[in-house]
Symmetry: C2
Subunit: 945 residues, 2 copies
Amino acid sequence: MATKYVYFFGGGKAEGRAGMKELLGGKGANLAEMANIGLPVPAGFTVTTEVCTLYYKNKSKLPAELNKQVAENMKKLEKVMGHIFGDPTNPQLVSIRSGARASMPGMMETILNAGLTSTTIPGMIAKTNNPRFVYDAYRRLIMMYSDVVMEKAAGIEPAEGQGIRQQLEHLMAAMKKARGVEKDTDLTGDDLKTLCDQFKAKVIEVLGKPFPDRAEDQLWGSIAAVFQSWNGRRAIEYRRIEKIPDEWGTAVTVQAMVFGNMGDTSATGVGFSRDPATGRKVFYGEWLPNAQGEDVVAGIRTPLPVNEAGKSEHTQHLVSLETAMPVAYKQLNDIQKKLEQHYRDMLDLEFTIEDTRLWMLQCRVGKRTGVAAVKMAVDMCNEKLITTAEAVKRINPDSLIQCLLPMVDPKAERENKPLAKGLPAGPGGAAGVVVFTADEAARRGKELKEKVILVRAETSPEDVHGMHAAQAILTGKGGMTSHAALVARGWGKCCIVGCAALEIDMHHKVMKVGGREIHEGEWITLNGTAGAIYAGKLPLVDPDLENNKDVGQLMKWIDTFRTLGVRTNADTPKDAAKALTFGAAGIGLFRTEHMFYGEGADQPLFLLRKMIASSGVAERRAALDQLFPFMKADMKATMLAMQGHPVTIRLLDPPLHEFVPHDPAMLAELAQSLGISLEQLNKRADGLRESNPMMGHRGVRLGITYPEVTEYQVRAILESAAELAADKAVKNVLPEIMIPVTVAKTELDDQKAIIDRVAAEVKAKYGLKTFDYMIGTMIEIPRACLVADKMAETAEFFSFGTNDLTQMSFGFSRDDIGSFLPDYLKKKLLPEDPFQTVDKDGVGKLIKMGIEGGRSTRPNLKIGICGEHGGDYDSVKFCHKVGMNYVSCSPFRVPIARLAAAHAALEDAAAAKGKKPGKKKVAKKAKKPVAKKAVKKATKKGKKK
Amino acid sequence: MATKYVYFFGGGKAEGRAGMKELLGGKGANLAEMANIGLPVPAGFTVTTEVCTLYYKNKSKLPAELNKQVAENMKKLEKVMGHIFGDPTNPQLVSIRSGARASMPGMMETILNAGLTSTTIPGMIAKTNNPRFVYDAYRRLIMMYSDVVMEKAAGIEPAEGQGIRQQLEHLMAAMKKARGVEKDTDLTGDDLKTLCDQFKAKVIEVLGKPFPDRAEDQLWGSIAAVFQSWNGRRAIEYRRIEKIPDEWGTAVTVQAMVFGNMGDTSATGVGFSRDPATGRKVFYGEWLPNAQGEDVVAGIRTPLPVNEAGKSEHTQHLVSLETAMPVAYKQLNDIQKKLEQHYRDMLDLEFTIEDTRLWMLQCRVGKRTGVAAVKMAVDMCNEKLITTAEAVKRINPDSLIQCLLPMVDPKAERENKPLAKGLPAGPGGAAGVVVFTADEAARRGKELKEKVILVRAETSPEDVHGMHAAQAILTGKGGMTSHAALVARGWGKCCIVGCAALEIDMHHKVMKVGGREIHEGEWITLNGTAGAIYAGKLPLVDPDLENNKDVGQLMKWIDTFRTLGVRTNADTPKDAAKALTFGAAGIGLFRTEHMFYGEGADQPLFLLRKMIASSGVAERRAALDQLFPFMKADMKATMLAMQGHPVTIRLLDPPLHEFVPHDPAMLAELAQSLGISLEQLNKRADGLRESNPMMGHRGVRLGITYPEVTEYQVRAILESAAELAADKAVKNVLPEIMIPVTVAKTELDDQKAIIDRVAAEVKAKYGLKTFDYMIGTMIEIPRACLVADKMAETAEFFSFGTNDLTQMSFGFSRDDIGSFLPDYLKKKLLPEDPFQTVDKDGVGKLIKMGIEGGRSTRPNLKIGICGEHGGDYDSVKFCHKVGMNYVSCSPFRVPIARLAAAHAALEDAAAAKGKKPGKKKVAKKAKKPVAKKAVKKATKKGKKK
């Protein structure tokens, strides 16, 4: 039997269903689902993603069998819709759209109105009695098709603004000028007919081929173009950012056209079953009368609110669909309710009203801001639509991160008048310098690491790289479903759209807003949650998490599922206290060296420098004597703040040379304080300089060569603990002393001797009967993993330092990867930056060896992680999987770690039930060798630019 | 039953035997063996090394049971010898000596003449009728005992030259002055008697205690002092250098004294059954009439040759024992022959003739120079005394290294007249600046890395650290068995002793020799093989290996046993050719970057710099075009030189910044050549600078970011191979292209694509029908070992780069370890420098994983090693053990690698027979937790100094 490449839907039933996204793409699968549950869906069929795979495998050729299957399904479509594709008297027009498993808005091609030819146009005119409509549809077809099919097929890469589409637009502008009109809609049917002729002549002139006049040719050209667009530069870039596998491919859905632009009884729109920005339970949408769908999404005309409930202060004066077309609205409202109950999630809908008749063109689970995601999950759980486990599973880390986003300081907002207001498309606050092009945003934002805000009249998929590099996006046009809004929301980026008060002068790189001129490079601040734009750089503050009840509720549910502990990395009492409010269960990493601050010669930083520049034990002890009270005060205050939660204190870790000042004045002061000449000091500093400091004299190596440095630190820790215990200020004080950069048990023994000696002295000094402390080690050098069984003979706990472990395992100096890692990621030599997410194949194997080795000696060995990975979602899940007891991360990332831990536990539970979670299964299946060459080719192209 | 702590020997039998070295020490075991085979050995007994262990375990207390066992054995001794210890009328004197498992000449204490007291002295005088002899023995006892027992027990650490011994020596000097005599022997019995009284008074004055006047007290004090000396500073230092475990401990042998200083019918001497310097089969020894053993060893009197055959041009005029005491000599000569047949090895003997009666005091397998070791092994094998396997096993790597030692260029020797000649105590040539103290030798030699030659009147164990740091040792006094000669020979160090022409003025730091004054810091050159001393710095050349027939024979035998291949690291055709003569079977590492040399702007180094400083592909290709002919010429010539042996060529490896010049003139020239400003060039150079270059942009990372760099190198390699194949200049040309610094299979795939493409082009260009090449990778980053199974999917061979693998596994930057590794070794946190010998526990585990992973994918994967470890004896054995196919090392080390490979294979064979080689077994057993605290204590002491 031949492989089934095409799946039909329409007439109240479908061959596919929502669960078949992998094969039919999101769009195709959901259209089938809607047809199945009896919603009004224009008939159509979906060519599967497998065909896309074959297309790239067979050097951009479609499989032969496809012809027959498409023909058969076109017949079915014609039967359901009652028109015939390419028929002179009763012609059927179709759209051809892409649809990947994951939504990639605007990244791939769409052709509308296919089927209009010199043969069918008369029939269409006869049928609609609306020549203007038909020629408008025809000129749109020519514009789209010549651009996305013909120009690409011809292999032409026109200069910016020189493409066929722009040339046709020039013709149209000329026509409008000649007719003395301003809007497209003011052109008459005859004007448009003339324009179509001009378009076709221009196509021959520029592209060397006539515009295809057979409906079949238009259909097949479009199908191929959609497949081709999967590997367009924009799509590849988008996938890279969104981590969508190249192998997935896209499906193509061919669907009967319905027209929202057939006059005032027609309309088109999009909607969300709940507010995607806030999560509020209200049907929320936008519509345009007498328009095609692209007009809404492209943001060219500012759309109207679908209903009264969804109106905001900005849209109060506009006409809603509810008011304009109450019958169609009621039907639409019923449908969105039905769909939400059916899908048990918030949905993003596209609809068209053709001459009062409502058609559903698309439905999919809607993108939402993080804040909205949390609110919806909590609400739906309270509504009994989903379980707590589902609510937790539904929150992805980015959503939660968005809830933790900084916002503009409310005090500063009260004191500053906004320049203008726009639509709050992406929440959070952001400040940055204004830039007007995506390239400039990328250059300054990515390369120069400046904070920039990209300001555009509207954004297009061409701007994605700049949008990604920007802190925030501000557009003058477009609505909440415009390209800018969709993309920004997807990334959880601050974004304001449709700020009509904005006048942008691209030529002079300046914008006028609120009576002010703001030039490129000047600071502005956005409140994306409120849509307010401010001049200058306003302070940002962290979000008021404690008062966000939804987040609070969600975090409680999260904690019911997770088994992995979450601690925090904190170096000050303030951080420690903050982390407690984020739900940290202790400090996993207190970095001694971070306590060295201050500017004066009596401040810790200076004293540390003095210690480092000391020569000989006596000088070093003198400096340590001065440092001691500071160390002790900070440690004691931190332990007090943690109120009996465990505190792991790491002994001095970094290469000493890091602390040697470069400033001549500081050097002079230091020399004076040490009573040596500047020359002598410089000589000592030179002696500390290293070729590869990351692998030099640091960590435990300092404690071994300078035992007194260990001694003073340990004394500070243990005296703090002893005093807190003696004062009964904190119950169960249990300092965990952590020795960094170790490679052998002997190092631990060497340091343990010092620690035990000091502990005995402290115990005696404070007259304590019992005095508990733990000695453990960082596991951050490959050898430590390899001899973990031995290390655990002395170490009472392990904490994986995956930053260093990744550096040494890869031989990648974190400070130097800039010259090659980008190429590695671009060429896919590595699946991801191993400093962001634990490299499971390599570093992960070492971690597993370390855990197995350690526990083989000490079965109850407490094991955690305290590198940057401890707050990375995927890495935390890995930590759960390999059996760590806890992760430790920066306070801000504690909630993410808790979420990841809960997800990992839920996946365990699902696996235990024999049902692997869907996503994983899919991802595995997708890893077939697909479209490799094409990807390579595309990558190369990208590189040349 | 009580543990047996004491083993008796004497009277033609013994409780111990030669195989019990572990328990009885070398001296005790061999004395027992000699007694067993009926040789004349003064009776005695040995206190076992276990007692030493207990002594340190029990805080320097001897086990209670020892008392009884010593008393019983003393009775036996008395019975055999016919005198009684401590008896007033018929007193027995004894010596108390140390004896560890391995010889540690002069490192521990010895007490002679114990048993002389106010009670026994009259008896001794009556018995010997020689008061002068008795008082001389007594004054020696007081000097030794007060120094090594009493002063140490009192815990006094006198300043240099202020010890009790020196104070007693001052008294003796004063006595000589008062009597107007020069030599000790000119003092009369009365003088000596007076002196003994003065000595005893001084002992009370300085040490606060009287000299013990009970024989028992002297005996026990001496036994404890010997045990105590195991952890003396000198002994510890010596063990560190010789890698002797601290846990072994020493035995103590108490033996009846016999006297070589009882007049002209008495004598003492040492001998070797073959010449220890050359290996020549001739009984070789030195003796002194009327002397005690220490006189020979200390080198105070220049000794005489034992026989005529052993005379050299320097000793021609001296009286031999053979002539002076023919009967005793004949007996001695028979004994040495018997012992050699019995031990099947060359022996080092000590004898004393007391009033014409010969006594054997010691025998042990003799130390020998490397050259002698090889000659003896080959000779003994030819004499059927040992098998070829034994001959091979008997050669340790240091011996072979000595055969490969540089020597003074013979041409230079012809042209320069020696300043003087001395005894050739340690072979080879050396040049260095003169220093006169051990401390200065250590400072300049070790710290400043200068080449120094230590010049002393005579050396003592106090000088060991300086001797170790020196290139060579030159003494004015002493013979071939003096301290300097023994120690230097053990280390294979160039050494000349007994150069009587030398006058050293320590005060002015100058020596007079051959009519010249040579000040500290001036260069001299020694030919240790001939004993010639030259002024100035003469050139050294490598030894004439090809003409050393013994080495050639041995290497042939070696190759019959080994299974591990040995290749060489060579970067030039010259090195390649040389390595072939050393027995290399191919090149395991040709470093592309080493071919960049020359000074002019048309030379490779400049062109490489130009390539590195290029910006963009076009500039880089232009520079590569210029470089290409040089690369190709070198590669082709090397492949030609190797005549079909495999050649592994590594692509560019080091961080590019290494090649950026610092010289302003060179920078200016470079900028000009690139057509850019100096400022621009500096900016580019800054861009190449890295925080941790060892983990930066290097190796395959260069090939990935600059594919053209790979392309040109590969083209040079493959065109060379193609041309050699086309010209039929070499059969079976098979270049092995090796990709460095890899961490993932994807990197190999990326580079393989380039290599395969270039190969196809080259194949076409030269019209070849077949064209073979291999693609492999260095395994030098930990991750590569962890994902070796994947790497082997693409790589056709692995070569472990253990230098980098050690760096990354330990996180030890090789350039920066100077600040901490010495402390690690001193504190024994690491058993040895992991850059010298593969760290088996950590790095070794990674290597095993790498091999297992690689072979799991590709069972016949060819695996080698090309780091420095490839020429390290222990590491090569490890490589054999883990199943590598070959090691690769510098040409000079190829013979060592071959030897190690043969030893490893012989050990395998022994293990297969169920007989583990003795050494290993012993070493394992020795790793009991012994004397730890004492060691720590001693280490601390050492540090304080």
